[in-house]
Symmetry: C2
Subunit: 396 residues, 2 copies
């Protein structure tokens, strides 16, 4: 049985990923320091529903499926703790079989502060974002170098690293011709937030590690994810992933659905021509699974753009309104002053073929898919706090 | 009188820079946490001569010239301390006039762990390098954003960020044409050490700050510096800058001169075709001074390549041998197994016109210049510890 170690296993994507691999017969270990939960509490962001602790989740998972997800609660930014995961010099907080599972064949690295507005909230949160994200990545490449260079790292990046360039966005790399000579480089990156900038830096660290130490790394440049349910979360209601609907941790589609349900006008920033690539949470799981099955080679930094389709903010608002109106919600759309500094009309033509080439079959954001989101979120309508949706974090 | 704040004012370049500005009528404040000295002690790297503390140096400088350099000893990686420099909420460890000088017009940022071998010595030093370098830069851009967006930041980068690409190296930026469309990006970067990678990341942070907050930033991509004396250090022997000659903190020319003097064969790594750009420490001071006089515009990230000429490692070894032999040292050259992972023969054609365009007049590494280095270093021959020169830190 292959062993998958998931860093950041308590998050919006981490926990569904853990269940996904566990359901398919993998040995799964999850690590988290509850950063996301604690930040939600500290910032009073609201959550659509309460979620059990990671230990309770693993217990419920075991009861319902007989499968084991081992849990460790600790801080991966600490080098010694990261290294202990490869030596067995730690204790599980939850495990059916307490014995060390051993060195993982695959590490899936989600253990980062994932919010752009959080990273620009103030200088303290900027510092936390920078330090957490880069230390975890650096600790990981060193631990892999020192203990297990054959282990495949799958890290989540973001499409946001590319910004909105005036040229087509390729999957990670660009052949450049200059004054009659040629070379191939990482695709140019220029991000729109400090969080996104840490993802540029993560890739720089990985690229260094791959060139120097011949590691195997897959970096998945993901767009904003939407959705609530996965096949595994449907087994028991308490297995659902964390769902934020505020400006700081809530991604745009999830947030628009919540806003529609409570009669809060959809907050489109500025003109709304901002185009981005999006994907369903079920496709995140497919992408990770396909990447695990076809690891990067030794000395390869494989970069794939993890989106399934692109929309402007206006298109997302219109779709949400169309579906919401049919369900009787009378959705309003507001164009508010853009708190971000970004182009509101721009060229955007990203390539995203790599993941489909290794077997991913996209789910698209159809009216039916959005209707299903309305149905699930609607059940928790009474939990939604309108006052925490918009905080007005400014980029400048 | 313009006020210059120097972060990392105790280092090889920081202290000469402080004296340079002080001698020219600027108000000068220096900050340092003695990282470099402490690391030299911890790693037992040896130093050509002992240097006074930063406070003693400032006292001697004041006695000899009547000029004041204010001194603060603290850790710039701490956000609150960095911010205190812009509010006056701190105490000087040395100052003639204890009153807060006020917000600086220019910040010169040298406060980074500057050694590639140190950054790859082990995972702990890698972590220290990453965290120190990035936190200081991030704390600085936030403090400037919050308290003084008009202040000009001059940061030292490194030519090492570019690596050895197969295309000509431009000064920071590259116009790219791709599938019939054009855009301008940061010149592609791919560094050969973790330290150099942190400098890539510094530039990413600055570029973010410039785009979002309209800061004024000059990033100087410097090559390895050589030399001992500056006009100001000649005022009193105790004002000389720190001089390392080991593999970790000693730059190649300085190290080769020391090795020649004690009969330690020059350690050329591999074939010795590695080409880099170099400059005299006096030219570092010229470059910083010229940059201060012509600040970057608001919202401009100005990047200049701070080298005056290029040499292969073999050429430097041959020059050192030629000068050393004339002085009777019988210099030997050893081609040792390369501890680094780098191309030993490669294309290298960097542009470096920007600093000369703003008035810098290069000193070149002539036989006379090197002979003078031999003379100065020769006075301290008895202090040189042959056993600490080469530690064999491996990149892999």
């Amino acid at each position: 049985m292959s062993h998958v170690l998931i860093l950041g296993g308590d998050g919006y994507l981490g926990w569904p990923t853990a269940m996904h691999f566990s359901a398919r017969g993998y040995e799964v270990t999850v690590v988290d320091n509850y950063f996301r939960r604690n930040a939600c509490t500290e910032l009073d962001t609201g959550m659509l529903y309460q979620i059990p602790t990671l230990i309770e989740r693993a217990q419920i998972w075991h009861e319902k499926t007989g499968n084991e997800i081992k849990v460790i609660i600790d801080d991966l930014a600490q080098p010694e703790f990261m290294r202990s995961l490869f030596t067995g010099n730690f204790k599980y907080q939850f495990a059916v079989n307490k014995k060390y599972t051993g060195i993982p064949e695959t590490v899936i690295h989600y253990a980062e502060q994932p919010s752009a507005p959080y990273s620009l909230y103030n200088y303290k949160y900027a510092d936390i974002t920078l330090i957490n994200n880069l230390r975890v990545t650096n600790n990981l490449i060193w631990a892999i170098r020192d203990y297990s260079p054959e282990t495949h790292i799958i890290k989540l990046g973001t499409m946001g690293v590319y910004g909105t360039p005036n040229i087509d966005i390729e999957e990670g790399w660009l052949e450049v011709e200059h004054k009659g000579r040629k070379d191939k480089f990482l695709f140019p990156r220029q991000a729109g937030s400090l969080y996104h900038t840490t993802k540029i830096m993560d890739t720089d660290l990985e690229w260094f590690a791959v060139r120097m130490w011949d590691l195997k790394v897959t970096d998945l440049m993901q767009g904003p994810v939407y959705g609530v349910e996965t096949d595994e979360s449907n087994i028991d209601n308490r297995l659902k992933t964390i769902f934020n609907y505020d400006e700081i941790f809530g991604t745009i589609v999830n947030r628009f659905v919540v806003q529609s349900i409570v009669g809060y006008p959809l907050t489109v920033y500025g003109q709304g021509g901002q185009t981005r690539g999006y994907l369903n949470i079920k496709d995140t799981l497919q992408c990770i699974a396909a990447s695990e099955k076809t690891p990067a080679d030794k000395g390869e930094l494989r970069i794939m753009n993890q989106i399934m389709e692109t929309f402007t903010a206006n298109e997302l608002a219109e779709l949400t309104k169309k579906v919401g109106d049919k369900l009787g919600y009378e959705v309003k759309i507001d164009h508010i002053e853009n708190p971000r500094k970004e182009a509101e009309e721009h060229y955007y033509n990203p390539t995203y073929q790599g993941l489909q080439d290794i077997g991913v079959k996209p789910h698209y954001l159809t009216e039916a898919v959005m209707k299903r989101m309305f149905e699930i979120v609607g059940k928790y309508k009474n939990n939604i706090r309108k006052d925490v949706i918009f905080k007005g974090v400014k980029w400048q």
